[in-house]
Symmetry: C2
Subunit: 248 residues, 2 copies
DNA sequence: CGAAATCTTGAGTATAATCAAAAACGGTGG
DNA sequence: CCACCGTTTTTGATTATACTCAAGATTTCG
C-alpha cells in the first residue's frame, strides 16, 4: 500500500493520512520535518516528570509507556505508546511535564524540536488540527482506562486492555492473523491496570484457560476475538479511528 | 479585581486571562462570542455518549460531571466541571462524543456553536492555542485521577480529590477561608473514586475524625490544609496553573 | 552454563464490596 | 409549623476481590 521504496516510512505521516488526505505541500513539510533519530534500550526514561522539554519524541518503533509515580513510590502506567505516537506532544503547550515516558522494549525514537513543530503548525493549520486531534484521542483513551480501572474487575480490565492494544497495533500494521508482538511484562501490565503482578498472573491464566488468549513470551495471539471483546466490554469507538471496520 | 460593572463576568475570559494577557481585539472577540445561555436543573444530561454535537457547552455556574457507563451499567465519573470549563471542547475535533456530561447541581450553561469556535480559533491563533492547552490540562487531570484510582487507597484518594477541587475552585474565586460549596453527593464521589457509596461514607468519617475536613450538607471546610495535602499526596503541578502560589 | 529477570504457585490477610435497614436531611404542601 | 416524601447519609454484618509475603520454577540472555 505504501511506497515499497520507503522501508522506514514515517509512521507519523501514516497516522495523519489515516485522518485526512495530505496535500503535496503538507506531505513535503512532514517529510522534511527535522528529526533526530535515536535508538534507546529497554527500561530507559525518555523524559521525566518535572522536565521542561524543548522537543517532542515520536515513537518510530518499539513500545514505550507514559507513567506517574506516587509519593508512596507506586507506579501507574497511564498509556502504552506505539509507533506513530508522540507521547509528550503536550509539552508544546504545557511547560512542565507532569509525567514520565520510558521505553518498555528497545525503541527507535525521533526527536523533533518544539520550534519545528510550532513552525509546521503555523504554516499548515490542518496539521496543527490533526495534532490537537491526536492529543484529544489520547484524552479519550485516558477516560476509557479510568473507567476500566475504576469500574471493571481485573479479569475484564485485562481483556479490555488487550483488545485496545490489538486494535491500535492493527491500525499501524503490527498485527497479522490476530497475532502480534507484545513485549510488556506482567509487572507492567499490573502497573497499567492498578493490580499486582501476582494478580495479573492469575487473571492471565484464567483468560488462557478460557480460551480467550494465547500469550507466550512476547507473542500474543487472540483465538477468539469476539469473546475477548465481549469479556472486555470493548467498544473501539473511543479510539476515534477513521477506518474502524478495517481494524475492529 | 475584575470590573464591578460586569457581575456576570464571563468565566471563560477570566480563565484565558489567567494564562496570558488578552489583547483588546481578542477580548472583544471573546465578549462577542455568540452564546446561548440556558439554566439546567440538577441531574440532567447536557450531552450524551454517542452524540454528534454541533456546539460546545461552557459552564457558567454550578457543577457538572463528565462520565462514562460500562456495559455492566456502572458509572465512572472522569471529571468534575466547574465555572469556566468547556467539558466537551473535544467535540470540535472528534465527531462522536465518547462520554456524557451531566449536571450535578443546577447550572447555567452557555452553548457556543462549533462554527463560532472555529471562526475565533482561525482569527486568533493565541485563543486556539489556549483552547488546545485547556484540553491538555484536562488530559493531565485524567492522568492524575487514573494514578489515584489505580494506586492510592480510598482514604488518600478521597483526600486527593478534595485537594484538587479546592484548588480549582480557588482558581475561579469560589473559595473563601478554606471553605466552599461542594454539592457533590457521596454516591457521586464514589463513582469518581471507583469505590462504593458505603465506603465513601466510612472514609469521609475517618477524614472528619482525623480533623482534615468538615463537610456538612454541601458545605466543605478545610481546617488543616497542609495535612490534607499530605494525606492526599497532593502536588498541584499537574493542574498547570500559572498562578500557583495564589491558590495552593 | 549461570545469573538475572520474569513467571508461577500457595497460604494468609486486608481493603473494599455487598446486602440490608435505619437514621437524618431537604424540600413540599397542607 | 409540622407532617410527609424521596433522597442522602449512616450503621452493621458478611463476603469477595485482590494484596502481601514467600518461595520455587521457568525463561532469557550474555
Amino acid at each position: 500500500m505504501h511506497s515499497p521504496f520507503r522501508p522506514d516510512y514515517n509512521p507519523l505521516i501514516r497516522k495523519l493520512e489515516s485522518i485526512f488526505t495530505l496535500t503535496a505541500d503538507e506531505r513535503q513539510a512532514l517529510e522534511n520535518l527535522p528529526m533526530q533519530i535515536t535508538v534507546i534500550e529497554e527500561n530507559q526514561d525518555i523524559v521525566r516528570e518535572g522536565d521542561r522539554p524543548s522537543r517532542c519524541c515520536l515513537i518510530l518503533s518499539g513500545f514505550t509507556c507514559t507513567y506517574k509515580v506516587t509519593a508512596q513510590g507506586k507506579r501507574q502506567i497511564v498509556a502504552f505508546n506505539i509507533a506513530g505516537d508522540v507521547p509528550d506532544l503536550q509539552s508544546l503547550h504545557l511547560k512542565i511535564l507532569d509525567n514520565s515516558v520510558g521505553t518498555i522494549s528497545r525503541c527507535s525514537v525521533g526527536f523533533i524540536t518544539h520550534e519545528a513543530l510550532r513552525d509546521i503548525c503555523t504554516r499548515y493549520p490542518r496539521i496543527a488540527a490533526a495534532f490537537w486531534r491526536g492529543t484529544l484521542v489520547d484524552g479519550a483513551i485516558f477516560r476509557e482506562w479510568m473507567t476500566s480501572i475504576g469500574q471493571r474487575e481485573a479479569y475484564n480490565r485485562l481483556a479490555h486492555l488487550l483488545c485496545e492494544m490489538l486494535v491500535r497495533l492493527t491500525a499501524v500494521g503490527l498485527v497479522q492473523d490476530h497475532s502480534c508482538d507484545l513485549p510488556i511484562t506482567q509487572s507492567e501490565l499490573g502497573d497499567a491496570l492498578g493490580i499486582t503482578t501476582v494478580h495479573v498472573n492469575r487473571v492471565l491464566q484464567q483468560l488462557r484457560t478460557d480460551g480467550l488468549i494465547e500469550l507466550k513470551g512476547t507473542r500474543l495471539n487472540i483465538p477468539d476475538w469476539e469473546k475477548l471483546k465481549q469479556v472486555g466490554e470493548f467498544n473501539p469507538m473511543y479510539l476515534h479511528l477513521e477506518d474502524l471496520q478495517a481494524v475492529a
